[in-house]
Amino acid sequence: MITSYLHPESVEEAFATLQQQGQRARLLGGGTDLTLHTPTEVTTFIDLSRAGLDGITADDTGFHIGASTTLTDLLDYRPFADFWSGVLHTMLAQVASPLHRNAASIGGHLARGRLSDVIPVLLAIDANVSFFDGTYCEMPLAEFYSTRKNRTPVVVTGVHLGPDDGMAAFRKFARTTYDLAILNVACGIRLESGLVSWARIVVGERPTLAVNLVDASADLVGHPLDGEAIGQAAEKARESVEVRSDPRASADYRRHLAGVLVHRCLSEAAGAEVYA
């Protein structure tokens, strides 16, 4: 039961409160998830909306997105319409409904990780996450998740997107357009002289945290992104992805979806005509 609701006015103040209260406190972004699924031990919400974390800024290293920025603000941000093939725009338009996107923050998605269409895309376009753990830090998002078990709670302060130097695509499969994905896939590709120089194939809602399929991605490097390479990558993704069953779908079903959606994502990134 929530008995205390705090409005810290700085990241430092939010972090100090979080440290002081430990497991009894949770940081709150838009609240769309946490208010409905509050762990029983939690009695304090630390609302970050006044901590100065909203807004998007651009500089010569790319874009800095504050953690309190809502999904609607991201969707409305014009420079993202073409950024990495417009993948952020494509994905955000498929997240729940405007009612949800008007409240949900990117920081909330980053902190939770799962049940998100946002995270696979951020992983696929090589995003860095910034956070405060007593000092301000920034690291690749994939590393942030792979090391977070060893980390005490931090205040996620935002995302840093690098230059617009790649192609990307996103696909999700859900029972209805409004539902959470049964499985989602994002891919990011960089080309040099017509050959793949860098690739990410990310599968989310497995239903565990989204993961980059390292082997399937590595196999693309050094080859043109043609039908043969895409077919092989999709098959490798299908074979290698770790999936589980839950009430939403079986592991077998998810494995099949992974192959299909990876094929469609890579084909779309390559500019090929794809069955919707």
């Binding site: 609607t72 409904s97 008007n102």
Partner: protein, 155 residues
């Protein structure tokens, strides 16, 4: 905590764990419906500082200092909002339970985009679950209201 609802100022004690939905209904704004209480159905939608949100998963203390508009606020002096009139005229209301949320979502849309396409209207209303109409009439209603509002504004 100070906030405004339909341009009326309030200074009320608010429970730390209370939802904005519960607060508004406690204050008598019963046009804000409690449907799923899970952020899914959209009938509890209200505008907070001009943005439509589901009030069931919005903490009441987060509304401190904010401007809230409920469906009652669309017709402050008893004169129906063009959206409300259009919902009546097109027969977009059947059981009516989803209607307050639909009106709020549509009000935000028309504020942002006075001439939305059918696709945009459908994408906007997809967070307001309706089990009666199949959305055909509500979409027509939003188009009609948009046309009427443009006519007035273009004078």
């Amino acid at each position: 905590m100070k906030f405004s609802v339909n341009q009326r100022l309030f200074d009320k004690e608010v429970d730390a764990g209370e939802s904005l939905l519960d607060l508004l209904r406690r204050l008598g704004f019963k046009g804000v419906k409690n449907g799923c209480d899970n952020g899914d159905c959209g009938t509890c939608a209200v505008l907070v500082d001009g943005r439509a949100i589901t009030s069931c998963d919005y903490p009441a203390p987060a509304a401190e200092g904010k401007r809230i508009l409920t469906v009652e606020g669309l017709a402050p002096d008893g004169q129906l909002h063009p959206l409300q009139a259009a919902f009546l005229d097109t027969g977009a209301v059947q059981c009516g339970f989803c209607t307050p949320g639909m009106l709020i979502s549509a009000a935000e849309l028309l504020d942002r985009d006075p001439d939305p396409s059918e696709d945009v209207i459908r994408a906007t209303l997809r967070g307001n679950l309706c089990r009666c109409t199949g959305y055909v009439k509500p979409v027509e209603a939003v188009q009609l209201a948009a046309a009427r509002m443009r006519e007035v504004n273009d004078g």
